[in-house]
Amino acid sequence: MPGILLTGNAAAAWGARLADVDYIPAFPITPQTEIIELLAAWTAEGTMPARFVTLDSEHSMLTAAGAAAAAGARVFTATSSQGLLYGFEMLYTIAGWRVPLVLVNVSRGLSSPITLEADHNDILSARDSGFLQVHTETCQEVVDTILMAYRLAEDRRVMLPVLVNMDGFTLSFTREPVVLPDPAQVVAFLPTYRPNHAFIRGDRPMAQGTAVLGGAVYSYFRYQQHLAQEHALAVYQEVAEEFAACFGRHYGVVEPFDLDDAEYVLVMSNAYATKGKAAVRRLRERGVKAGLLRLRVLRPLPTAAIAAVLEGRRAVAVIDQNLAPGLGGITYQEIAAALYATDHRPPLLSIIGGLGGKDISEAEFDAIFHDLQRAATGERVISPRLLYTQPELERMRTLLHIAGKEGGDERPPGATASAQGGFATFRPRSGGKEGGDERPLRPRSGGKEGGDERPLRPRSGGKEVSA
């Protein structure tokens, strides 16, 4: 087996190192931390000639990233989940500056409740920010995509920042065989960055991110981002062809798997698509013509390519590892829109699975294909459908019991009892009489009632002054 074993995080760090980036603003967050730990070590020991700077937050980090890109540096940074949301304002701002940089997001479910494992509400919240988005399935794809992302971002027909997504745990902490691209070949594929557009120099000052008043001016700049995203589709094809010529690995905007004669198709993205492919092969062994379409480039969304692949299938299920409460699966809506204008729209099921990193089991994949076969015959099936089983619900009920939450709708007044008995109340030990350890609500006063209370506003001899 060629290559070395690398985690997704290490692959991302290698992507930045091979891309010969100039500047790395950083802020750690699980499950991304290993990326910046490696880059910090390499820059400190001098094996990577880049400037590594820790910032006080993801908001500052993204601001520094955009500003450095505006100064003509090749910039890499990475975050995850809450960090992406904390810096969210700057995503739109940087895209509006029209500066190229690559931001890796390591997907992790969003709070509340707070968690660590992957789902895609974090990355998909940024889908309208103006950043391009490429979602990866393997550790190999992480390093390759970062190199492609710089070509895409820095192309004058695009000139937009790129978000590269990988799943927390299932990629970030998972080692797989990775072939690191040869540095000399990387230089041929991705030459040194020579900015000729949005960069600030001491001898050539300019104003960046100016204010505009008047919708017509704003509309002009905003819509330019959309046109650049549309151009990015064609540029992507060129970059992918060139990458394949250099390194022998081809990545399309979408990846078809066993689709030639497929009747029943899963649409998936990111690391769990691998499990979807395993399910397809199992179904094929049982004689079901199954296939899978993996979404890779999500912004710009390759609607024509998606529609061309899915049109005319007997039934299609879109598995969203995300949830838009009040709507359902996010990419389902986009796939449905892509198919709307086609002549042979397949029945289209919406599946919600893998939230917070929940496994998608073989049995659940089987259930999806069962539903697809029913939908193909015109039967009504539940959609959207959450992948959730009876044992999981029973486990949930046990947890609610432990949390003291079985029974009534609302918290009973004064409820303190632990469901398992013992430790029912917690009060400091007191040598005094019953209740003597309770703190009074207001300090006792030796003087008259309220005498030690400070008035809410200073007493004034003069007239009342308004603030």
């Binding site: 087996m1 074993l5 509340s112 409740p113 660590l116 745990f169 299932t170 902490f173 998972t174 080692r175 797989e176 065989p177 690391a271 769990y272 691998t274 499990k275 492919k277 395993a278 092969r281 990193g357 496994d359 089991s361 073989e362 049995a363 659940e364 089987d366 259930a367 539940i382 459908r385 959450l386 992948l387 959730y388 089983t389 009876q390 044992p391 619900l393 609610l400 432990i402 949390a403 003291g404 939450k405 009534g408 709708d409 609302e410 918290r411 409820a415 303190t416 009892a417 632990s418 469901a419 398992q420 013992g422 430790f423 109340t425 917690f426």
Partner: protein
């Protein structure tokens, strides 16, 4: 055990297999239960995350067998080989584990402590033992070990001790017949999906009404070494009482520290901080 999983992964990769390994953990505290998974195959691996039907399960500490937060035997069926690092006898462990398949019991801990002076060496012993059990050669196992030690920042003598430990562990494990991967994947029983029922907001929000129940989470089983106080040496300075990160040390009526061994995780900060060396450190024997 993440390292043990990686030693096995690197050894299998060195032998020419396609490999995938991954740890899962949430509470990143030394001693907390954690799991790591290693897959090896002759073709691309299309599964991810936890292994549903393992061929081999290695349990580093027998207290994990009954630990609800760990459940190391999940998915461990008749065809799964179970290797437990334990000083207990096979009959007792078979009963505790309720495992009907092949069971291998070995106590690597004394060997590890004698060779590397630290329990971290258990990763080396069990990683290499697992490599032997899946039929990898000594050369592949040592190559796997070297790959992981390269990132461990060990001194030359620590490095040498681990290599020596690996040799001994491999020879010990070589006496066992290698496991065979299950011939045919058993079909899993279908688990029907349900419709998620609506829950009232009190149950739909991730709040906890039952207060002060964290003492019920007893962490004494995490302990490998036990701090034992010698009252003759104790000056009652209370530093251990202050330093204990788990508040597992109380003061008795005479103001001597008392360790709650149901909760003490064996971090030994008390022994480290004690100015009069009043704590003895004893290997935990269960």
């Amino acid at each position: 055990m993440k390292t043990a999983s990686r030693i096995l992964g690197s050894a299998a990769f060195h032998a020419g297999y396609v490999v995938q390994d991954s740890p899962v953990y949430g509470a990143e505290r030394r001693g907390a239960p954690m799991a790591a998974f290693t897959r090896m195959a002759t073709e691309p691996i299309r599964e991810r995350g936890a292994i549903t039907r393992p061929d081999l399960v290695v349990v580093a500490d027998d207290t994990l067998l009954t630990e609800p937060a760990a459940q190391p035997l999940a998915g461990c069926d008749q065809e799964c080989t179970l290797l437990i690092n334990s000083a207990q006898d096979e009959a007792t462990l078979r009963k505790v584990a309720a495992h009907s398949g092949r069971l291998v019991v070995a106590d690597f801990t004394p060997l590890v402590l004698a060779t590397t002076k630290t329990l971290a060496g258990l990763s080396t012993a069990l990683g290499v033992a697992a490599s032997a059990l899946v039929g990898l050669t000594l050369e592949d196992s040592l190559a796997g070990l070297e790959n992981e030690l390269a990132e461990a920042h060990l001194t030359p003598s620590q490095h040498e001790a681990n290599v020596q430990l690996a040799h001994t562990s491999y020879v010990k494990a070589q006496a066992w017949e290698p496991i065979r991967a299950r011939a045919v994947e058993a079909e899993l029983a279908p688990v029907p999906l349900i419709d998620m029922p609506f829950a009232p907001p009190s149950q739909a929000a991730p709040s906890i009404y039952a207060i002060a129940n964290s003492p019920q989470r007893q962490t004494g089983s995490w302990r490998q070494f036990r701090p034992v106080l010698d009252r003759q040496l104790c000056s009652r300075c209370w530093l251990c009482f202050v330093w204990c990160p788990e508040a597992a040390i109380a003061l008795d009526a005479d103001e001597y520290p008392v360790v709650d061994y149901d909760v003490c995780k064996g971090c030994l900060l008390c022994a480290y901080e004690c100015p009069t060396q009043a704590f003895r450190v004893e290997k935990e024997v269960r």
